[in-house]
Symmetry: C2
Subunit: 452 residues, 2 copies
Amino acid sequence: MNNYYIPRLATIEGYKQLFMALEAKVVDIVKHIKKTANDDPRRVVHSFKVGLALTLVSLFYYFKPLYNNFGCSAMWAIMTVVVVFEYSVGATLGKGLNRALATFLAGALGVGAHYLANITRNNFGEPILLGIFVFLLAAASTFIRFFPTVKARYDYGMLIFILTFSMVTISGYRTHEILDLAQKRLSTIAIGASICVIISIVIYPVWAGEDLHKLVAQNIEKLGDFIQGFSDTYFKTLETDGYVHLDLILANYKSVMNSKNSEETLANFSRWEPGHGAFMYSHPWKQYLIIGSLTRQCASRIETINAYNKAQASLEIFGKLQEPFSRMSMECWKALKELSLAIKTTTKPSSAKQHILNSRTASKSLKLLLNSEILGGINMEQIIPLASVASIMIDVVDYVEKIYEAIDELASLANFENGSVSKCCHVVVDVERLSEVIVDDQSVGKGTLVIP
Amino acid sequence: MNNYYIPRLATIEGYKQLFMALEAKVVDIVKHIKKTANDDPRRVVHSFKVGLALTLVSLFYYFKPLYNNFGCSAMWAIMTVVVVFEYSVGATLGKGLNRALATFLAGALGVGAHYLANITRNNFGEPILLGIFVFLLAAASTFIRFFPTVKARYDYGMLIFILTFSMVTISGYRTHEILDLAQKRLSTIAIGASICVIISIVIYPVWAGEDLHKLVAQNIEKLGDFIQGFSDTYFKTLETDGYVHLDLILANYKSVMNSKNSEETLANFSRWEPGHGAFMYSHPWKQYLIIGSLTRQCASRIETINAYNKAQASLEIFGKLQEPFSRMSMECWKALKELSLAIKTTTKPSSAKQHILNSRTASKSLKLLLNSEILGGINMEQIIPLASVASIMIDVVDYVEKIYEAIDELASLANFENGSVSKCCHVVVDVERLSEVIVDDQSVGKGTLVIP
């Protein structure tokens, strides 16, 4: 009996374990869902928008008059909605236009090829001729997809071009109402694409351009916060234990370094979008890529500073260097904060230039101090790590100026308003250390940063 | 008459200009085509492979017995070939499997939903129930596509899942041979996907895994070349005019910094690929991403060195620093070269460790020199840029060691052979400065770098 008993117990135990594993899995999935939704609540809205578009397009089947008109071609409307509906308006518009245009062009070409092959009036010659057409066009179009300019904007269109041409040409061999079929297919695809575009614009639109705009502004702010946080932490922790704990600050700003790809994708989508909010159709989206690239180059300099985690120096040297160093990074932080705000509020960066000039003055006095005889007598082992950090920071000031110039160009290209930011908004900056408030300085007529 | 005459002349002139513009455009396009083909000749082969696959699949229409069997469903085979055939085997396999599996699952679920809705036997209730099914499933699946893990590997599958479920459920409302249709569609899709996979594997296969492997090895080599080239240029040009012309070397190695995205894409595709050449199915592709990330971090350090283009120092200081500095970077270069070669030849990095130890020794003497009293008396303005560059280079040595460790782990994870690289191959390194040859050192039993 024992032989039967043990497996039974083992089975109950097994079920228990299975149940617990399942429960853990479910909890894990629920957490995952919550995180995905919280990271960007627009994702939930987008999911329902796709559901709505599909439900709308399925009316082609449910309503008899519509179905009688389009028949099986209604399938193409469903397919178009599923494939074309993307997260942002730009991506949806780009795909929709690509699909509709490519279908039209390839359809026309396909019908032409069909009639050309028909001339042979020969059961053996026709498929060979059709096969050659399809082979050549597919090979040529596939090759064209490798061109970088085509890949960036028309890759999907090329795919649909090959697809439609092949389908029309090949299936034309069996079907004889080819023109009627092509016309029905084109109109259902156009209807499906229109439904996608309309829903994506009318219901809580996600503009790729706006996302790019915000991302670039945010990255500049993160860079500024890092510079300020670094200078703060560097001297504070060096004083206490001779080590700098930068890992936490670095982790928060790693995303700046890895944003190249998202910026390029968003810029590509943005070019399809019509004017919206503060952005015209011809908004200079490419300029954001230049700003983003400079931001990353500056960030890469700062990442190097992490090499100087360890620095042993007497308090005496710190005292001498801390003042200009802190002033320099504080002014950089203010300049970047202003620049980020200028992008966010689409106004010209007004007082950022002054902060850059201030940081230049501070960097000059830091350089003078480093080169002075005061530090001459001190042990080189102590001075070199500090000097290296200071040198990199001086280089960072150059980059902040380059970022300023790029944003200034953006402001003039996109006709940003003159900066009277502060008149309309009081922004509370969420840096604990320095709870700063931008207040309206009536006397100067422009926003200035005041430390309370 | 004059009024008629001028436009005629203008028209001829206009045609001439148009013709010249067209000619320039054609020349431009031909150049573009040549460049795209030369950059990677496999692109031309890929284009013909797509053409071949399409021609093969079109036989479904041309041969009467095949057409009688599948009918209109043959269309799905064409569609599958166009959409699934990707450049690399991994991408094609991934898409093909995603498509086939998703179609099967969604088809089964769709047929189930169709029968469930049929129970109502009510012309008004059925479309409402079907609509609710489609809405919920489309919304849920669209949301799941935002999960990073799903997005990386199953995004296309999710899309096809929504597509097939909607089509089967909705069109099931009008068609009554739904099971027969679903079965035909599934088999044509499976045939189309199989044709793609077979052609992409049999004719000049492009393995994503191999590309990733080569890319990572190449980037390490580029990094090494840059380090060596930098050290060389730095002292040479500083001696002549006090400026370092790094722009050329930097441009060549920018691609290292921007390879994150391609590496991740290739790693994603690689995981779908069966064993091929030196790689098993379960090859540790993820380890390449770790190596690539370390390479980029190291590269980011070196980019910072560009800040020190300008350095004014007396020949006396150069003389003191040049020897350990050059030795350090030479050993780094050798180590990276060995590591790159170890990856390329899938052997364990044997002598790289020794080069890293050598560079550590050199970096220690550089540090000692920097901290010594010998430099104490010299102007700080002269010593700080040099010291900063030296500090960054010392940090670079740390990174080279980290890269070594990551590659060593890769070698043990992937069971690389013990390094007797040199026994089988004599590699001529294309660095003009140092035309080195790897020769077989019988006495030590492993390859060593010998400078003739």
